[in-house]
Symmetry: C2
Subunit: 267 residues, 2 copies
């Protein structure tokens, strides 16, 4: 067994940023001094992901989202909930530590979640700027919204996405907003400020950015929105985190564990 501890890996992950005072990122469960038998990395610490990591003998789960179906970890709310209790018991019995790795990886320079989504879409050469909450891409030639959506679906391997706008509209300047940054306060001002044709976002409330884009289109303005899903926008960054850990700890088994798409679309 390696002499590497859970805390050693956590320290490695937070080092590029330094300790944050306000953060949801911490060891949610587990012993920081335990020796690492293997590392699993995931977008979400789902029941399936935890079962898979037990099968492969890993005892450290690095997950982007939390354990308690909420941005803030408040396990007391779910104290009596059988779904949460089953998951927590499984973690305890298996001696698994879970480190939430959300704020730190978004604070890497550039945001490692966004940067890896851009890389997966093969748009790295076209990045104009990595901003804190968005990356701005200018394609070498305009692509129709429909073709752009098909490209994104293919590169990410996702079964569907939701769109607002005219599929024939030419798109050149693109804003990439991962996770929940598709909300209006982040996304809406970006269209004007960066003269964007289209925003590709994880998710956000339906009555904010989507309705803004709908109105813009009805006014004859060239704007569009592709909503690809929260997990779908952030999984590439977590998969890249696993790849990076493999090179740092070559003697430790490291695996990225992907769950199924969260929704079935019923047409």
């Amino acid at each position: 067994m390696s002499r590497l501890t859970i805390q050693d890996v956590v320290d490695h992950l937070i080092k590029p940023v330094g300790q944050l005072e306000q953060t949801v990122d911490r060891l949610l469960v587990g012993d920081p001094d335990a020796k690492v038998t293997g590392i699993a990395v995931a977008f979400m610490p789902t029941q399936r992901v935890i079962e898979q990591m037990i099968e492969i003998g890993a005892n450290l789960l690095i997950s982007h989202e939390g354990l308690a179906y909420s941005h803030h970890f408040q396990p007391e709310i779910l104290e009596q909930d059988p779904v949460f209790q089953t998951k927590r018991s499984l973690l305890e019995e298996a001696g698994i530590a879970v480190f939430r790795f959300h704020d730190y990886i978004h604070r890497y320079q550039p945001d490692a979640i966004t940067a890896e989504l851009v890389r997966t879409l093969e748009w790295q050469p076209y990045v104009l700027e990595h901003q804190q909450a968005a990356s701005i891409v200018k394609l070498p030639a305009p692509s129709s919204l429909g073709d752009l959506a098909a490209h994104v679906k293919k590169k990410l391997g996702i079964p569907y996405m939701r769109a607002v706008g005219d599929l024939e509209m030419p798109c050149e300047r693109i804003g990439i907003l991962v996770g929940y940054r598709g909300g209006g306060s982040v996304a809406i001002p970006l269209y004007e400020r960066e003269e964007l044709d289209v925003i590709i976002a994880g998710e956000g409330p339906e009555w904010e950015t989507p309705e803004y884009v709908r109105d813009a289109v009805h006014q004859g303005k060239r704007k569009a929105l592709l909503v690809i899903g929260h997990a779908e926008s952030e999984e590439p960054g977590m998969a890249a985190c696993a790849e990076q850990l493999k090179t740092v700890y070559p003697s430790v088994p490291v695996r990225f564990l992907r769950d199924e798409p969260i929704f079935q679309v019923l047409l």
Copy 2:
């Protein structure tokens, strides 16, 4: 022209609840003393809805959501935004008043938005309880999740919905959560407390209730979720509001204006 003023209609709408101290509901734009030429009712005050009401000569728009693509009306944030400016200018030029009718209609006893969704789904005889944030329905006989989804799609006339769970799962006890109540803090505790098989919700963050249901299903527990869309869950209630106004003001033209579904699904 009728002697009915904008304020008269607003007073009628808020009367069943009484003036709320804390509310987003108010006349967002327009003159409360202007005479009503016609009333339009909508889920969202979109550009298209406003153009339609100008065509029919209505000057009062009663809309469930706000004008500025946000739950809280902060027009100063969009002061320089051309989409918002175009819409606001159009409202001013046409002399249209917009009354946001959100909190009051949800405070009717029972919540008139939820009650009308239940009625549209033809489940009124099966209501066990209208709670503040949810209505609980027990079907006379179990229906598979897939059949239930097909029923909802047909009754609401919606092109798609998103589901978590096994389509073969029998569903009998249903929680109905309109709008954004699909979020974890409202929806998750309801499954246990009301022994629900399935929740039908407008929308909510993807990493909350959907992930809870995914884990439950993977643990072998009988739970499911149907996410039908925010507008889709609340439009029946606003359409019923228009019908009610027709009977109260028989000499005033009243129309419910429905926009298209906000998203195209790209498969």
